[in-house]
Structures are given as C-alpha cells and as structure tokens.
C-alpha cells in the first residue's frame, strides 16, 4: 500500500477521474459563467461582446448593493439562529427533558421535512392581517397589544426578520439532531468529573461541552452558511422578495437579471460574486477552526 501511494503516477490514476468529473460539473460552469460575463443581452437575443461593462456596473448598481446587504443580514441572523438555537435545543434534550424525549425530538425535527412552499404558506397565514388576523396578530390582539398588530411581511422594517424567523424555525430541528448526536458521544464520566470539580450550568458548557463540540459546531456553521448564502426559495414562497426589495437576495437578483431582464452576462457576474462570497465565507469559518485548534 505504501508503495502504491508513494508512486505519483498511481496517485494521479486515483485522482484524475474524480478531478475530471469535478472539473466538468463545477469548474466548467464557473469558467463558462466567466466567459458569459463579457457579453450583454441573452444568447440569441442581442448577444454582444461588451468587455468589462458588466463588472463596472456591479459597483454602481444599487439593486445589487441592496441585495447584498439583505443577504449578509440574513446569513448572520439565520446562521446564528439555526446553529445557536439548535445547540440550545440539543442541550435541552440532554439535560432538561425527562419525559417525552422522542415525541419532542420528532416534533422539533418535523419542519425540516416540510416543503418550503408549504412552510411559506403556513407562515404567510401566521403573519396575515387582511382579510382576517393571522395567528400572530390574533394573539397580540387578544393580549391587548393592539398597537403591535401590523402587516408583518408587508412592510420593509419587519419582513426580513419574519423571513429569518421562519427559516430558523424550519432548520432548528436539523441542527438539534446533529448536536444531540455529538453530545451523546461525550462520555458521561467526563461530565460527572466536571460536576464533582464544581462545574455547573454555564461553566460546564463553556469549559467542557463547548470544546468537545467544537468540530461539530464548525461543520454545522458550514452547513448553515452554505444553506443561507443561496437564500432563494423561502423568500420566494413567503414574500416574493418584497415588499419592494426588502427580502430580495443575491440569488434572486441574479435570477431576475438573467431570466427576466434577459441580461445573462450581468447575471453571470452576480453569480461569480456569489461564488466568491461562498469561498470567502467558508474561509472565515475555517479561520475559527484553526484558531480554536491552537488550544
């Protein structure tokens, strides 16, 4: 085995088929997209070479900036919410829940398997204000908080946060299950020893659980980041990017530009930006990984 893996040709033989497939399905479209970014119009319709115009436009396009801000806010809130609350939920399963663990775990995981469109419909009913109050406004009204009754997804200041809440609710069960599996792997005697040493509550989490859950947290953050950076379908289902462009993400803007505005070249530039955003985001998460590894 050592001889085989010591031979560069043998390694090449193992690596090349995978590399070819990866290149065809990942790298080729990226290169294709890069090529398209030098053209204006849509293939077959006013398809002309335009040099760097599409790249220049990116820096002056306010719609792009708005979509980027929406996307970054969404990533920050939803990533923290999904992973943070998922971890909290897993800790609750382990330390607080004594009865009905299975039922509660199933209920928490249930939204994960629901189709996004169904979840969008469900939440649009929860946030509804006209013709009848939805669940949220009805509750507020019943509690006498009528001044808080408002069109939650119909106004810019609340629409994005309502969308974040929906997506956190949907994915929380997924992360809870992953964290719960990792917590079960922590030997009980470690926790018991920590307790004997006087660790309780927060200290137990900070000095025992958190370091042991470090690598699974990084994995969850990467999962959550890759899920949120491509924000599209949930926003489409709940608010259709509105009101105005309050919930329009980069992916949605790219789609609009390419397929509604027939500007495939400029759409490709936005797609390339999303690609680099993914690389930058993943690299930042990796930095945390390395920093923690020094401990």
């Amino acid at each position: 085995m050592k001889n085989v893996l010591g031979n560069k040709k043998a390694i090449a033989l193992f690596v090349i088929p995978g590399l070819v497939v990866y290149s065809c399905i990942v790298m080729l479209p990226v290169i294709w997209s890069f090529y398209y970014s030098f053209f204006s119009g849509s293939p077959g319709l006013k398809w002309e070479f335009c040099g760097l115009d599409n790249f220049k436009r990116l820096f002056t396009d306010n719609n792009f900036k708005d979509a980027l801000v929406v996307n970054v806010k969404y990533i920050a809130v939803v990533m923290l919410g999904q992973v943070g609350l998922g971890l909290a939920m897993a800790l609750m399963f382990k330390f607080w829940l004594k009865k009905g663990k299975n039922i509660i775990r199933t209920l928490v995981f249930f939204p994960v398997v629901l189709p996004t469109v169904a979840v969008g419909q469900l939440f649009s009913k929860i946030y509804e204000i006209q013709p009848n109050y939805g669940l949220l406004n009805s509750l507020l009204s019943a509690l006498g908080l009528t001044n808080l009754v408002q069109p939650w997804i119909g106004q810019s200041k609340t629409a994005l946060w309502c969308l974040c809440a929906m997506d956190i609710w949907t994915a929380i069960g997924f992360y809870a299950v992953i964290f719960y599996g990792a917590i079960l792997d922590i030997p009980d005697d470690v926790i018991e020893a920590a307790r004997i040493d006087g660790c309780g509550g927060f200290k137990l989490f900070r000095y025992i659980m958190a370091p042991l859950l470090h690598s699974i947290t990084i994995v969850c953050l990467v999962f959550s980041f890759s899920g949120t950076v491509k924000m599209f379908e949930s926003s489409m289902a709940l608010t259709n990017g509105g009101p105005g462009n309050a919930t329009r993400s980069l992916s949605m803007y790219m789609y609009l530009t390419s397929f509604s505005y027939n500007k495939v070249g400029y759409g490709s530039v936005i797609a390339l930006f999303i690609f680099f955003l993914c690389i930058i985001g993943s690299s930042i998460i990796k930095i945390f990984d390395r920093t923690e590894s020094y401990y």
Binding site: L45, D53, G244
Partner: protein, 472 residues
C-alpha cells in the same frame, strides 16, 4: 528496452484505433456510398425529388382562398393553459376541429407555468428551437422577438390569405400599439376591459345612488364609504400589478392615453409632476386607510373575495374577473350584487369617458423558422373559427369577429360585453411600454410606495433610473 518498444507500439495502436473509432461514421459512410453508389444516388435523387415536390407544393399554394390542400404538419404548441382550462380548451378544440378538415395535421401541446414562460422562451430562442406556436406576453417583451426576427408578421400573413377582417379592429389596434409596429406579430387571446367593480349593497349602505362619472365624484364616494365604516377599496398590492393599475388609472385620466408611452420613449420623464401626482394619490389613499391594513400582503384573489363577501366596496380588475363572479359559491353578493364602472374621468378633453383600459391578455406567436404553408392553412382556420368557438363555449371575446348568439350568456358576462361595446378607444396598462427591468422595479417599489417607505418622488425616480440603466 523491449518493454518500452512493446508499450510504444501498443500506445500507437490504441491511439490509431481511437482515431479510427472517432472517424468511423465518416469513413463507413463514404465506404457505403462507394459500394452502394448507384442505389445511394437513386435514393438521393428520390429524396431530392420529394423535397422539390414538397417545395413546389409549397410554392404553388400561394392562393389560400380555396379548399384546404391537407398538407402534412406536426404543429408544436407551447402554452401556459392546461388542456382543460381557459384558453387551453379553445386551442385544443380548434386543433381537433382542424384535424377533421386536414387529417394530415397533428399537434403536440406542451404546458409550462406562466411564471416560467419568459425564461423558457429565452432558452428556446438561444438554442434556435422555438416551437411553431407559443404563448407569450404582449407589450415590450414581444418587441425583442420582433427585433431579432424570430416571429412571423401575422398581420402580413393575414393580408396574404385575406383574413385580416377576422381579427377585430380594436384588437389589431391594441396589439399594434403594444408592439409599436404597423403590423401585428401576435394573435390575441382575450379582449378585456378593466375598471372598477363595486359592491352594490355597500354603495347603498353608504348612501351612494349612482356610480361616479368624474374623478372628484369618485374620491367623494371613497370618503363617504370610509365615513360609513366601510373599507372603500380592496387592492391586490401583494401581486403588485393590482396597485400599479390604480396609478395608471389616474395617470391616464390626468395626462392622456399616451402618457406612459411618452415616458418610455423619453418624450417626457417619469419624474414629471403629473406622474408623481398619480403615485402620490395611491399613497394618500393608503394613508387615509382606504385600503385597510397591510394592503401589500393582500393578493388579487383575496381582494376579489373581499369585494364579493362585502368586506370592501370597490375593486379594480379586468373583465376576466367575471369567472369569479359567475362562481356562485365564491360570489356571496349574488347574481346582481356586483356592478362595474369605467375609470372616472378627470378632464374629458384629456381622456374621454368612452376610453377604456383594455388588454389582450397573453398572446400567441408563430415561430418564423418553423413557419410554412401548412401553418398558414392552420392559421387561416384558427382566426376564422376562434371568435365563434370562444363565444359559444365560454361566452368570452377573444379579439376575433364572431357570429355566435350572445343572448344566453350570464348576467356578468353580458355586462362585460356591453362595456366592450361602449368602448370607442383604448389605453394600455402601466407597464405595457416598459421592458422587464423597468417593469420589475415599478412593481416591486409600488409596495414600498404604498407603505410610505418611499415618497412618490423617490418612486418615480427609481422608475426613471431603471429606464436609464436598462437603456445602457
């Protein structure tokens, strides 16, 4: 050394085998052509003869007034209506009926979602594979296809076959206006008027005895309704276009029917005073509470239900709304509970009372690359029969002349037919002259305008900016 030689020889053998394999089609083809030269050339000449015969048949059928020559054709249709729904029924029925006239005619009917239509067409254009006949959007979207020379000049074809009169003058005029051409490049699939539907019981409750004829009367009625504790307007601002139609109503009545086309071609600016005033109007109405709470979350269906269930008094929509009104389970107002009035005039000299907002709905185009004589014969049959088919089957007007009896149609459909008869001129909807980019900005930002997150000036400026950017 020997091993190297062997491996070299094997490599050469493999490479040559590979090259031979790659070139097999050509070489075997040429070998076959050598050995079967006689039969091959015979077959080729037969094929050529067939082709020339077909060409000559095609060339000979310059007269389309006689009997259908029953040319062979497999027509591919891309539609947005299911076979058992709306226009899908009519298109399929026409095709089936034509099969009786021409047994050599077959058709394939493909349905895509209306939301995906433009994307699908863009992809098919890119691959130069547009189907023979396809649904598309009238207005600015069709202009790109015309400029790229992808679709048939249907007006010229109808002139050639002598069937121009089957498409009504109003439909022809509207389609020409929408595409900005002297001819029509699409077939209409609807002839709709738009205006205000109102709940008669709520009007009576507020003490309004007759429908408003002027804009001042209209605003006075809105105030009366509001004072009587009735929500004056239902608006589907969640679907965006429901709100821009209201801005269009005021824009056209105060600036004239050419207002939007003037702004689109740069004669005027979207930021001019009159356009801003129209945008301000809709924001003011929301500030007055005329739309109720959270209007940007209400879609057109919900808004329609609010009118029919007596939760709102007035609702702007097109004549296609009759399909909801004719549904007795949905229309709680009953068979005569809902009325219709045209957009009230602000100044009769700018926009007349008999001028209606009209549209042709989605339209059908014919691919230029697939167009042949067989399609011309089908086109002839289509325009000659569509009017009667639509009237007799659905009681609807599609933009074609008809001879079918209209006495048996329902009350609401009759109401629409009467309104269409009253129309002496037409104007289009707010986004009709805008390209996709400007149209999207217009619709997206109308929600922020209504909410008050954007001023009327900012809203119109955003449209002007989009218009300037998209021209780059």
């Amino acid at each position: 050394m020997k091993k190297k030689m062997v491996s070299f020889v094997l490599s050469v053998a493999m490479v040559s085998a590979m090259l031979a394999g790659c070139g097999s089609t050509t070489s075997s083809g040429s070998a076959a052509s050598d050995t079967t030269a006689a039969s091959g050339s015979a077959a080729a000449s037969t094929a050529a003869a067939d082709a020339s015969a077909a060409t000559s048949t095609a060339a000979s059928t310059t007269d389309f007034t006689g009997e259908d020559p029953q040319l062979s054709k497999d027509l591919k249709i891309l539609s947005i209506w299911a076979e058992d729904n709306d226009n899908g029924v009519l298109i399929n029925d026409i095709c089936k009926a034509y099969q009786e006239v021409n047994p050599n005619f077959t058709y394939e009917y493909e349905v895509v979602s209306a939301d995906d239509l433009k994307q699908k067409i863009a992809t098919l254009v890119a691959s130069d594979d547009l189907p023979d006949m396809f649904a598309y959007e009238s207005g600015a979207p069709i202009v790109d296809l015309i400029e790229a020379d992808k679709i048939v000049d249907i007006g010229a074809e109808l002139d050639k076959i002598g069937d121009s009169a089957y498409v009504t003058d109003s439909a022809t005029s509207l389609l020409q206006t929408l595409s900005g051409t002297d001819s029509i490049y699409d077939l209409p699939l609807g002839m709709n008027v738009e205006g205000f539907w109102y709940n008669k019981a709520l009007f009576e409750q507020a003490g309004i005895t007759e429908t408003p004829a002027t804009w001042d009367d209209f605003e006075a009625d809105l105030k009366k309704l509001s004072d009587a504790g009735i929500q004056p307007l239902a608006c589907g601002a969640g679907d965006k276009w429901g709100a821009t139609r209201l801005i269009n109503a005021y824009t056209v009545r105060t600036l004239g029917p050419d207002a939007m086309s003037n702004a689109a071609d740069g004669t005027t600016k979207y930021t001019d005073e009159g356009y801003v005033a129209a945008a301000q109007k809709i924001q003011d109405w929301n500030n007055e509470g005329y739309f109720g709470q959270g209007v940007t979350t209400v879609d057109m269906n919900t808004a329609g239900s609010m009118l029919m269930s007596g939760k709102a008094a007035i609702f702007y929509n097109g004549s296609w709304f009759t399909s909801n009104l004719n549904d007795t389970t949905a229309n709680l107002a009953g068979e005569d509970g809902i009325g219709f009035f045209n957009i009230p005039v602000a100044d009769e000299s700018i926009s007349a009372a008999d001028s209606y907002s009209m549209n042709c709905g989605n339209i059908l185009c014919l691919s230029k690359s697939k167009y042949d004589d067989a399609t011309t014969w089908f086109l002839k049959y289509f325009v000659e029969h569509m009017g009667d088919e639509a009237m007799s089957k659905q009681g609807s007007i599609k933009g074609y002349t008809y001879t079918a009896d209209t006495s048996s149609v329902s009350g609401y459909t009759k109401l629409v037919l009467d309104e269409i008869d009253k129309a002496k001129s037409a104007f289009t909807w707010y986004e009709a002259t805008m390209n996709s980019e400007v149209s999207t900005v217009t619709q997206d930002n109308v929600q922020t305008l209504i909410n008050g997150d954007m001023t009327a000036e900012e809203y119109m400026q955003s449209i002007q900016d989009a218009s300037d950017n998209s021209a780059q």
